[in-house]
């Protein structure tokens, strides 16, 4: 690995401006890493030709002075974002030959700012999973693995592994129940799920539309701030996109935390919480306290019900969104004598086991006779969970919690495979945020006794990503976490 691929996005931009190396040299260095890093299985599709062309254009712009905000920065794109003329699979057999005729808004923003796209990153099939093991293209391996291969977390597992292993300078992710934050925590890097409505969902393969949000996964807090600035913004093509000015997030990094009130929800410290996790949580709070922040215990009384609420709403929305995959207009088609056979064969062969499970659970909770008992009930619970946060934010500015109760676990873990609920429980600290539509950031805090990274989560008020960057920058400085 050459040194230039260990630079952060901010450092790389500076070096490119100072002509220390060219964008083509940089892209070639990353392509070289990708070739040598194929054992991680982080990329589903590599696009070297496209990347080198974009890098040449970037070099021209640096010479003639028309360089843009991300000119020449080599990015990996989660394979859930439609990219024009580049295959987009959602890590599913049913889309494994799909070449979008259009570009997602988020990736268009990145292209407009001069980014270079190295390829499309692996994920859980349709972003459904917390370990990247449900991908049709095989699991991603966490670069922190030692004697046996560990999961990178999911669903943005390829994104997190690629950033940690320097197979791209930064990556895009999406987060429906923790899919940016959990893999960021497992791979010792930083990621932010912005407020619902901050980034356009146009052109992102839909999972659960009322929960899905795009965000960056990057080496550090500053890089996330730089990337989010580019990715965010109002879009007429997404009816839930919010027309709110995107601030210069980097400007928040130098602010002090003195006077801010940091809430620690007592429900996130259940009996039996991993003592290592609890200790790091306390430590993060101490860093902020030492800098003059007020630490306050708060309550989010309906926390216990967030997972069950999520596992009604997300599959319900998924079953509806995934009804479009019928083998008629695009994607994989299986043979069938009659139209219904064609639908059934296509979907049964095209979707993996976890996706089929969620479609059926979703179909059930939406079906006649059960809609009120499950779906409507969950929507009401969602209101209570949302209100919990709104009440808590009357007493604090930011909420601090662990990102996950555990570190990365081995690929093929028996207890997770035997009972899907055990896998779902890993999302315990992350799903509430999606239900409430709030912004949340995960950054690495330290290593376990076994040498694996833990993440801390900061949750903010709606559209207050800036304060998350402010507080995260301070924890980052004090924790001195050493990345891969």
């Amino acid at each position: 690995m050459t040194e230039i691929t260990t630079f952060s996005v901010a450092e790389t931009l500076k070096a490119l401006k100072n002509k220390e190396f060219s964008a083509v040299e940089l892209t070639k260095a990353y392509l070289h890493n990708m070739e040598n890093g194929r054992q991680y299985n982080a990329y589903i599709t590599e696009c070297a030709d496209v990347a080198l062309k974009q890098a040449e254009e970037a070099d021209k712009r640096y010479i003639n002075g028309t360089n843009r905000a991300l000119e020449g920065i080599p990015l990996g794109i989660k394979d859930l974002f439609c990219t024009k003329d580049i295959r987009t699979t959602a890590a599913s057999h049913i889309l494994d030959n799909f070449v979008p005729p259009y570009e997602s808004t988020v990736t268009q923003h990145l292209l407009d700012d001069g980014a270079v796209f190295l390829g499309k990153l692996n994920l859980d099939e349709f972003a459904m999973g917390g370990s990247n093991e449900t991908s049709y293209f095989g699991p991603v391996i966490n670069p922190w693995s030692k004697d046996k291969p560990l999961v990178p977390g999911g669903s943005s597992g390829g994104s997190a592994a690629a950033v940690a292993a320097h197979l791209c300078a930064a990556a895009t992710g999406t987060d429906t129940g923790g899919s940016i934050r959990e893999p960021a925590a497992f791979c010792g890097i930083t990621g932010i799920k912005p407020t619902y409505g901050r980034c356009s969902r146009y052109g992102i393969v839909a999972f659960a539309s009322s929960l899905d949000q795009a965000g960056p996964i990057a080496q550090d807090v500053r890089d996330c701030a730089i990337l989010l600035k580019s990715m965010a913004g109002f879009d007429e093509k997404d009816s839930t996109s919010c027309n709110i000015t995107v601030p210069d997030y980097e400007s928040f990094l130098n602010r002090e935390v003195k006077g801010l009130t940091i809430g620690l929800p007592k429900e996130y410290r259940p009996e039996g919480l991993n003592p290592e996790v609890a200790a790091y949580w306390d430590k993060a709070a101490e860093y902020l306290k030492a800098r003059g922040a007020n630490i306050k215990e708060i309550s989010l009384p309906h926390t216990k019900y967030a997972l069950a609420t999520y596992y009604v709403l997300a599959p319900a929305e998924a079953s509806s969104n995934l009804a479009r995959y019928d083998g008629i207009r695009y994607g994989f088609r299986a043979d069938g004598q009659h139209l219904d056979d064609l639908y059934i064969n296509t979907r049964t062969q095209g979707f993996g086991a976890e996706v089929r499970r969620r479609i059926m659970i979703g179909t059930y909770v939406l079906s006649a006779g059960y809609y009120d008992a499950y779906f409507l009930k969950a929507q009401k619970m969602r209101r209570l969970i949302h209100n919990d946060f709104m009440n808590a934010f009357k007493e604090c500015d930011v909420i601090l919690t662990p990102t996950s109760p555990i570190t990365a676990f081995p690929i093929g873990d028996e207890s997770m495979l035997q009972n899907p609920i055990n896998m779902y429980l890993n999302d315990v600290f992350t799903v509430s945020v999606n239900l409430a539509g709030l912004p949340a950031l995960s950054l690495p805090i330290g290593l376990s006794a076994t040498g694996l990274p833990y993440g801390m989560q900061l949750i903010g008020k709606p559209f207050d990503e800036g304060t998350l960057f402010n507080v995260a920058a301070k924890i980052e400085t004090d924790a001195k976490f050493e990345r891969k």
Partner: protein, 95 residues
């Protein structure tokens, strides 16, 4: 609310998915495990709670009724598993 084998079959058909006969029992048990777990929501009385459908409660924007994209027939058919005469092609529906 435990579900039975017949319900599993019905849900699979509504989902346009096939479950092999020998897997129906296991699927039923798995679903019942998940549904039992979801039952915990009934611990909370939500009779007077408004359902939350979307976190940003903004009303949908109105716009001029004009074509915003179009003339992309060729692009759209490029991904079709089967297309004929500028249409998507499917197995015969009417005998």
């Amino acid at each position: 609310m435990a579900i039975d084998n017949l319900t599993v079959k019905r849900i699979a058909f509504l989902s346009r998915l096939k479950i092999e006969d020998e897997k129906i029992e296991a699927t039923k048990e798995e679903f019942n495990k998940i549904l039992n777990w979801i039952e915990e929501l009934n611990e909370i009385d939500t009779n007077s709670v408004e359902p939350l459908i979307s976190v940003n409660d903004a009303t949908l924007r109105m716009r001029e009724d004009v074509v915003t994209s179009g003339n992309c027939l060729k692009d759209i058919l490029k991904n079709a598993p089967s297309a004929e005469y500028d249409y998507f092609a499917v197995p015969k529906v009417v005998e």
